[in-house]
């Protein structure tokens, strides 16, 4: 499935003294199989954009096309289109409300009118996807769990709707390194098993590790769209956007400036490790 943004503009409080343009003429396409990182300084319009992707906000002008159909068109089955796009908000655990983990995850599928057996199957699958043991956690209260586990329950609730595209707005905010790595590992597995992923992130190092594509927003406009390799070699642009580049990219540029023969587009620690070790071995053959 594809989600295509065409000349998307969003103006908050249009026609009043508080009018502000949050998004200006944004066009790009989220393609099947992308792991797309959406990055930009706070206030650049990321969250506004994300809320257009499943129809929570309507564009002031422009369109969001889901497999060619206008999400905000007059005769469109919006509910059906939205079901294929799962949105995980920031701090999604604040939205947990049920007595047990299983009931909370079942809330969405239940509203679809599925049979009890189908609902349970979906809950089991979703819990497995977020690495929560069904027998151990299904009947626990979500509010007795750790912050990271609660967040995984909230994500499972979205996965139980079996979306083709999963959108996550800063899924690791507020988590410690261990919780962060678990969530990112889960998102990586979902992507590998065929889910298209859109992830809003502030961490260029996380983006470097995971994304196949990076879309950069600045002041409500699209600043750049490319692979991490293309984006992270443009250090000046990324710094002007208030984002910076991964440490590996910074090291590469510092070493090149000192005359070391390294490609200018390295951006992961593994690549750097390989190149530096090779240079060392060439210089010290025995």
């Amino acid at each position: 499935m594809s989600i295509q943004l065409k000349n998307l503009t969003h103006v908050y409080s249009g026609g009043t003294a508080f009018e502000s343009v949050a998004l200006h003429d944004i066009s790009f396409e989220i393609r099947d199989g992308d792991f797309l990182a959406l990055v930009g300084h706070t206030g650049c319009g990321k969250s506004t954009l994300v809320q257009h992707l499943n129809g929570l906000l309507k564009p002031t002008s422009g369109q969001v096309l889901v497999d060619g159909e206008d999400l905000n068109g007059e005769h469109v089955d919006r509910r059906k289109l939205r079901m294929r796009i799962g949105l995980v908000f920031q701090y999604p655990e604040y939205q947990l409300f049920e007595e047990t983990v299983a009931k909370d995850i079942a809330f969405g599928p239940k509203n679809l009118g599925l049979s009890a057996a189908e609902i349970e199957e979906r809950v089991r699958t979703a819990m497995a996807q977020v690495h929560l043991n069904y027998d151990k956690y299904a009947r626990r209260s979500p509010f007795e769990l750790s912050g990271g586990q609660m967040r995984r329950v909230a994500i499972a609730g979205v996965l139980a709707m079996q979306p083709k595209t999963l959108i996550l707005d800063e899924p690791t905010a507020g988590l410690d390194p261990h919780g962060r790595d678990r969530i990112l590992g889960i998102v990586r597995e979902l992507h590998q098993s065929g889910t298209t992923v859109v992830m809003v992130s502030h961490s260029m190092d996380d983006v470097a590790r995971l994304a196949t594509r990076v879309v950069v927003l600045a002041h409500g406009s699209l600043l750049a769209d490319g692979t991490p390799r293309e984006i992270f070699r443009q250090r000046e642009m990324m710094e002007e956007a208030g984002l910076g580049v991964p440490e590996a990219s910074r090291l590469v540029q510092a070493l090149r400036a000192r005359g070391l023969d390294l490609p200018d587009d390295l951006y992961t620690q593994d690549e750097l490790y390989d190149h530096l070790l090779r240079l060392w071995k060439e210089a010290n053959p025995c």
């Binding site: 706070t42 988590l175 590996a248 070790l277």
Partner: protein, 282 residues
């Protein structure tokens, strides 16, 4: 004679009611005047329990905590202790009580019965110290997360504390909010001599401290300068904490036979060291 420690925790243990095992066990920590100490640990490590023991929100099950010489078990000194060691918490929205920034900063002073003129002066100074003077008459909900945390800090500063305890004060902020809050606290530490206990799980924040104490499973597992602590790559990994990317890369290259020196933390240090071995002019 040297000035007494601002905070002194002596073999402190704490067990929550109905818990089988202690959340914190035999932890000692001394914070000198003007010192900036980071406490690093993952969720559930006991670091927030430690924070709450340091200004008498909790009282130790074993051992004792002295704040500027006052024992936190002494009920009569409770308000003096809290005034000497102010605390900011994680969620900016849970700490604001008033409808205007100025009134929020005034809250603690009003409760102390400080005369009006002095109160106005202390509020003005506190807002100035966190660079929020321009927002004195603003409604707190109009502020960013980082600005709200700075207002919370101003509320503590108005009480003229000797020590500031921050329990994951930046965990819910974006990178620029995090920087603005951490920079503010460093400036107060430097210019006003306020001691800081900075509790965090962000390794790059702990790296800016004078000293880092690493807590895991309720115990102190590492303690030293940031350089000493962050070059313990394997130990840090074991307890699920981050190490700086450059420390990690340096260790991998060293393990593979490249003779980089120990103690590399930053991109600049790595650049110098790789150049020493590989750059054409050397």
């Amino acid at each position: 004679m040297a000035e007494e420690n601002r905070i002194q925790a002596e073999a402190v243990s704490y067990t929550y009611e109905e818990a089988e095992t202690p959340a914190l066990s035999q932890v000692s920590l001394a914070v000198k005047p003007g010192e900036f100490v980071a406490v690093l640990g993952h969720n559930g490590s006991g670091k927030s329990t430690l924070a709450k023991l340091l200004n008498a929100l909790y009282v130790p099950t074993e051992g004792r905590v002295l704040v500027c010489g006052m024992d936190t078990r002494d009920d009569d000194r409770l308000w003096d202790i809290r005034r000497a060691a102010g605390m900011i918490f994680q969620n900016p929205d849970n700490q604001i009580v008033a409808t205007l920034v100025r009134e929020d900063v005034a809250f603690g002073l009003e409760n102390l019965g400080v005369p009006h003129d002095e109160m106005v002066e202390r509020i003005d100074r506190a807002l100035e110290a966190v660079h929020m003077t321009a927002y004195a008459a603003t409604a707190p909900h109009m502020l960013s997360g980082g600005q709200k945390q700075r207002v919370a800090i101003a509320g503590i500063l108005a009480m003229t504390p000797l020590c500031l305890i921050a329990d994951e004060a930046t965990a819910m902020l974006d990178p620029s909010g995090r920087r603005e809050v951490l920079d503010t606290v460093h400036r107060l530490n430097r210019e006003e001599g306020i001691s800081v206990v900075w509790i965090t799980h962000f390794m790059e924040e702990a790296a800016t401290a004078d000293r880092v104490v690493v807590v895991s499973d309720g115990q102190t597992v590492l303690s030293g300068t940031p350089r000493e602590v962050f070059t313990e790559v394997e130990k840090m990994r074991e307890i699920h904490l981050d190490v700086p990317h450059m420390a990690d890369l340096a260790k991998r290259l060293r393990d593979a036979g490249m003779p980089l020196r120990e103690g590399i933390l930053s991109v600049d240090e790595m650049t110098e060291e790789v150049c020493r071995l590989l750059c054409p002019s050397n």
